[in-house]
Symmetry: C2
Subunit: 408 residues, 2 copies
C-alpha cells in the first residue's frame, strides 16, 4: 500500500476518527441501554407526511424540476417558509437572507471555511458541540473559551489570538438546549456575547439546531433577533444563525439552513457552487411541503414525547445518583449533562459501564476544545422509553457509586 | 452594511460568481436557443422508476432508516452495486473502496481539501472542467498544464511547482468525453499520465462523470483499471476515480461516488463526517433501487437520444461553419468544442449572439486555468432537439461569418 501522508495537505493528516461515531456502533448491540446517540427517535418521524410529499412530486409537473439541477441558494418556497418561521422568533429577514444547506453540519463546515485561516482563533464554549469542533478543525484554528456570562475583556482574547499567530474570527455557540449540556444562555448572556463580538469586530455563529424543541419555560430571543433589534436591520448584523430540520422533521434528507446578512449569504452561495452545487432538489421540495403542512404539530408531538423522557431521566437521576454528582435541568432539546464527583473519569466509566452495567453514554471530554472535562458525561433521552431510562439510570448510579469506592 | 472582507479567510475573499451560472440564467428566456447549459434533458429522467422507489421506501420497514442519520461512507447496497459496475469496466475493488458523495462536485471539493495546501500545484488539462477549477480554487493552488500525450519531463513540473512555493499534488483529468471538449484520452495518453504520476509521486484524479455515455467507438479502460492491472491491487494505486449518477439517472438527488484505495477512502469518510455527516439516506436508497433495476436500459435510452442530437449538431456544423472554424467529434457525452478562426473572441461573440441571433453557448476561456482559449466555445447538445440544433447552428455560422468580416 502507498504511503500517502506526504501527499496529503496538512489539514488532512490531522483528521482523526470521531469518538462519538465509534461509540454509536454500540447502539447496534441490543443488550445495551444507550443514552449515547444524539439522534432523534425514528418512531416520531412524520413518515406519512413525507410519503404524501414525495408521491405528490411524482404526480405533478414538478417532477422534472425535482430531479434536475437547481440553484445553489436553495429552493425558493422553502426559503420563503423559513422567512415566516424566522419572523415568529423575532428575526426579520427576506428570502435573500436565507440559504439552504445539507444539514446544519454543512453550515458549520462552510462557516469555518469562510472565516478561518490557519492559526486564527474561534471562540467556543467549554464544552461545545463536538461536530462544530470537527468542522472547524479542517481549517486549522486555535480555540479560546467563550463564557457568555463571563467578564473577560476583549483585549485578553485579542492578545491570546495574536500570540497564536492569527486573529479572532468568530464566536460559536448554541444558545438553546445546547448539545451537549442541554443548557440555555439567558438574555443577559446573549447581550454580552453580542457586545463582545462588536468590540472584537468578529462574527457570531448561533447554532439553532435545537431552538424549536422547548418543552417549558420562557423562550429567549435568538441572538440574531436581539442584534436586529439593536441595529435596525439584518444587513447591519454580525450574527449568523444556522438551523436544521434534522431534529424536527427528519435528518435523512440532509436539509438545514443559514440566516444572515446578504454579504455572508452571497459568499456561502459561491462556496456551495464550488463545493456541491446545491442540496438535493427533491428533498428540499419534500421538506417545504411537510413543513408547511405539519411543522407546528410535529414539534408539539416531539415535545410531548421528549419532555416525558427528560422528566423521567431527571427523576431517575434524583433517585439514583450519589451525592457529589450534579446535572443540568434542560428546558428542551435532547441532552442532560452530568458532572461526576472529582477524580472520576467519564471515559473509564464508559468502558466499565459497557462491560458490567450495559449502559452507554458519551464521556464529556470530547466536547472540550482543551480536552478538559474528564469528570463529565452526556446523556441523551431522545431515544429511550421511560422504563429504559429508569433502569439505565439506576445502573449508572450503581456504577458511579462503585467507581467512587474504587477511586477512594 | 458591515464590511466583512477583513474577517473572511483569504480563500473566501477570492471567490467569484461563476460565469457559467450567470449564463445559465439565459436559459430561462424562451426566445433563446441554448447550447449553453451542461445539464441532462429532464424529458429523459426515469421518473416512473424513481416514483416506485420512493413509494416502496415509504411502504416498507426501510422508512425509518431512510429518514434517519446514516454512516458517512454511504449506503452499503449502493456501494455493493457500484462494486459490480466497476468490475464491468475493469476496476476490481471491494465495498471498502467505494465512498458515496453528494454529486461528483463534492468529490472534487473533498479531493482538493485532502491534497492541496496553499501554493501547491494541481495539474489540469487546458481546457478542463470549470467546476473542478472552482472546487480546487478554495484551497489556493497553482495550476500547471497536463497534456496526456505530451512529452514534458517530470522535472519541469517539479521545478515549476517549487518556484510557486509548493509541490505537485495531483493530476486531474476527465478521460472520457470530457467537459468541455467532448474528447477522449487514448490508451497511450492514459499510460503516460500514469507514468508521470508515478514519477512525480502524485495522485491522479480521474473524473468519470461521462464515462457511461459512449455512443460509438471502442471503450478505453479507465486509468484506475489500467493501474490496477499494472500494480496488482487497487490498494497499490494512486488513481482516484470519481463518478456520478447526475448524467445517467438524475442530478437532483445529488448522489455521486469515489472509488480509490482504502487509505484515501478512510480520509474522505472522516472529512465527510466533519463536513456534512453523510449524503441523503433516502436518496441513496432510491438511487440504489433505480440503478439495480434500470441502469443499463436508462443509459441506452439516453445514448439513443443524445447521439442523434450529436449527429445533428456535427452535420449542422459541417454545413454552416465557415472555413477556419474547427470542432471536436465526440464519441459520447454532451459537448462539442469549437475553435474559432484566430482573432475571434468567444465572449464577444456570445454578447453579439444573444442580441442578434438568440443563440447561447459558453465561451471557452472560463475552462482554461491560464485564461487562454479566447477563440473557443463549448456547445452542449443534450437539451436541444434536432430542429433547434439545425436552426441554432445555422444562426451561429452566420454570426461567425459576420464577425470574421468585422474582425478583418
Amino acid at each position: 500500500m502507498l504511503d500517502w501522508d506526504h501527499i496529503f495537505a496538512t489539514r488532512s493528516t490531522r483528521m482523526r476518527a470521531s469518538e462519538i461515531r465509534e461509540l454509536l456502533k454500540l447502539l447496534e448491540r441490543p443488550d445495551i441501554i444507550s443514552f449515547a446517540g444524539g439522534i432523534p427517535d425514528p418512531a416520531l418521524f412524520p413518515d406519512a407526511a413525507f410519503k404524501d410529499a414525495y408521491a405528490e412530486i411524482f404526480s405533478s409537473a414538478q417532477v422534472n424540476a425535482a430531479l434536475q439541477y437547481s440553484v445553489s441558494e436553495g429552493y425558493k418556497p422553502l426559503r420563503e417558509w423559513l422567512v415566516g418561521q424566522m419572523k415568529k422568533i423575532g428575526i426579520e429577514c427576506t428570502v435573500d437572507n436565507v440559504f439552504i444547506t445539507s444539514g446544519s453540519q454543512q453550515a458549520l463546515d462552510y462557516l469555518g471555511k469562510l472565516f478561518l485561516s490557519p492559526k486564527d482563533t474561534a471562540l467556543v464554549t467549554w464544552p461545545t458541540y463536538l461536530g462544530a469542533l470537527q468542522a472547524f478543525n479542517a481549517y486549522e484554528p486555535h480555540y479560546d473559551q467563550l463564557n457568555p456570562n463571563g467578564n473577560r475583556t476583549p483585549d485578553t482574547y485579542r492578545e491570546q489570538a495574536a500570540k497564536n499567530g492569527g486573529a479572532v474570527k468568530f464566536a460559536y455557540l448554541s444558545a438553546d438546549f445546547a448539545n451537549p449540556t442541554g443548557e440555555t444562555v439567558d438574555r443577559q448572556g446573549r447581550e454580552k456575547v453580542l457586545d463582545l463580538a462588536d468590540e472584537l469586530d468578529i462574527a457570531v455563529i448561533e447554532d439553532g439546531a435545537y431552538q424549536s424543541l422547548r418543552y417549558n419555560g420562557e423562550p429567549v430571543s435568538p441572538l440574531l433577533a436581539i442584534e436586529i433589534a439593536r441595529k435596525g436591520s439584518i444587513e447591519n448584523t454580525r450574527t449568523i444563525y444556522s438551523g436544521s430540520f434534522s431534529k424536527t422533521l427528519a435528518p435523512g434528507l440532509r436539509v438545514g439552513f443559514v440566516v444572515a446578512n446578504m454579504s455572508v449569504i452571497r459568499k456561502l452561495v459561491l462556496m456551495k457552487q464550488a463545493a456541491d452545487l446545491h442540496s438535493s432538489t427533491i428533498n428540499q421540495i419534500a421538506i417545504a411541503t411537510v413543513a408547511e403542512r405539519i411543522f407546528d404539530d410535529q414539534v408539539a408531538k416531539i415535545g410531548a414525547a421528549y419532555s416525558a423522557r427528560r422528566d423521567a431521566m431527571l427523576a431517575a437521576l434524583e433517585k439514583y445518583m450519589p451525592a457529589g454528582t450534579s446535572w443540568t435541568k434542560p428546558e428542551g432539546g435532547m441532552f442532560i449533562w452530568v458532572t461526576l464527583p472529582k477524580g472520576l473519569d467519564g471515559a473509564q466509566l464508559l468502558a466499565r459501564s459497557i462491560e458490567t452495567e450495559k449502559v452507554a453514554f458519551v464521556p464529556g471530554q470530547a466536547f472540550f476544545a482543551d480536552r478538559s472535562g474528564e469528570n463529565t458525561l452526556r446523556l441523551s433521552f431522545s431515544c429511550a422509553n421511560e422504563q429504559m431510562i429508569e433502569e439505565g439510570i439506576q445502573r449508572l448510579g450503581r456504577l458511579i457509586r462503585s467507581a467512587e469506592v474504587k477511586a477512594a
